[in-house]
Subunit: 328 residues, 2 copies
Amino acid sequence: MTETTPKYDILGIGNAIVDVVARAEDTFLSRHDMHKGAMILIDSAMADTIYAAMPPGQESSGGSAANTCAVAAGLGSRVAYIGKVADDQLGGVFRHDINAVGVHFPTTPLSGGAPTARCLILVTPDGQRTMNTFLGACVTLGEDDVDPALVAACAVTYLEGYLFDPPAAQAAFRKAAEAAHAAGRRVALSLSDAFCVNRHRAAFLDLVANHVDILFANETEITALYERNSFEEAAEAARKDVALAALTRSEAGSLILQGAETVQVAAAPTKVVDTTGAGDAYAAGFLAGLTSGRSLDLCGRMGSIAAAEVISHYGARPETDLRKLMPA
Amino acid sequence: MTETTPKYDILGIGNAIVDVVARAEDTFLSRHDMHKGAMILIDSAMADTIYAAMPPGQESSGGSAANTCAVAAGLGSRVAYIGKVADDQLGGVFRHDINAVGVHFPTTPLSGGAPTARCLILVTPDGQRTMNTFLGACVTLGEDDVDPALVAACAVTYLEGYLFDPPAAQAAFRKAAEAAHAAGRRVALSLSDAFCVNRHRAAFLDLVANHVDILFANETEITALYERNSFEEAAEAARKDVALAALTRSEAGSLILQGAETVQVAAAPTKVVDTTGAGDAYAAGFLAGLTSGRSLDLCGRMGSIAAAEVISHYGARPETDLRKLMPA
């Protein structure tokens, strides 16, 4: 274990994506064979087809781990991010927004290839978001984008499960996990999506058991990972598998498991407008607390408060100064 | 006067712009020498400088007349729009959004030149917006983009005052006004901004007196146009000058003048979040009413309700179905 003080609290690695958010009725989802609440991968042609059919949208920077980085930076954490955009207008938007919240973003943009990734997000009247991701430039994120010295300088390296979709990113993922552990740092993983878990279950099970120190998942993701029928059984499986797990259950709050310790945290009250980014914001609040030495209960409450702010409006990034909402 | 039934109710002509909206403190405005509530034109270098200093933003389609078109289409009007984007990603966003609300948008995009126009909008805690516009591709909008047959097919041709800033657009503006009157249609003008009025007062005075049938202006714009000290004096000057004037006064509502007739309309109650697009939405509601044969009082109320919805959230376009908010 190194004794060096980390330069950054959190290093996020993920798919660098610009969100296009539009409101839609449930009939829009069924007409386009979308599974409500899920994320599916689409190709360029399908992106054009869905976009052409979509209502007017609002564009803003997204990407699961990038959202977490932006929220954590807003809470005062020192944050770095690795992800691949193209050198186009949307890539410029992504870079501007993550830099503007103070996140160090050293990844070289892709030139002359696919455009910056877009996620077409339909928000139904119940506040649920359904996501259609065109990965674009993200598919070129690879090992070369991971600087082991940067990883070693970060207390926690946070990886999104979506990284397992673009093939080259898996190698980046493993390289980062190895570099983190070699430097005595911790590795966190978010399972991202139940469908993503189903696509990559064997790899995730291996990772969680052998390479992950902190696991984030919601109820459907954790039951999908361990193929259990109840949340309780899946949670106990996670307790045995990983040093620290933070499991979210929407309005039922979150459950934090660390060895024999169990902490139950209530959800922060809010009016749900758009659930996009809820899990990302929870992880941000939790990790901001953890890397500043707070108790698990306080980490969970910081996660809940950050998530509550993000789901109270359209878009995955905070619209208020989160520090003012946090407990002392 | 032609007796042909118009194919469209409204043809908007304006600067086709994508908005980048961010929240900022008043100190940000003073640090960058911005005049709160005004629109200034900036060049590409200044756009880069301001953008680099700006907080994270949300991108959405804007442009004054384009906003009016989008709102009117949402109210059921048949609408067309002329404006110049580039064939880049932001141009694609603009085209998608205006098509998605059902607006006919035939203008050929600019290829190989300046990028799509951007307006960097800072929204201060009081809800006021301060706008910095990089005109980009808009400066190439010209006479050739105005199809007289399209103008002749529209009951009202609506021109934004901002069109007087890019030089070639003035010719487009005059060509459209002539084509409209030749076909027995009406020409509407929005003064856009008091600073814009000051830049082009002589041209605006000539237009209003000789070529405009319906004038939209707020209190500062109408007093700037006629260089009067009071709203009342400026309103009386407008009454003499133009067949129909709709003058807005924020929370004090609007005053509609038509010959000897005077109609006072109250503002619709709302909580102000971001005033971007308030005047555009008022004009949309008003014109949607006018072109469907409503009374002046009802036209004004439709304008007030549309404006109230738009200022209740960030961004210049409605987030709800406006038809449900309208009086029967």
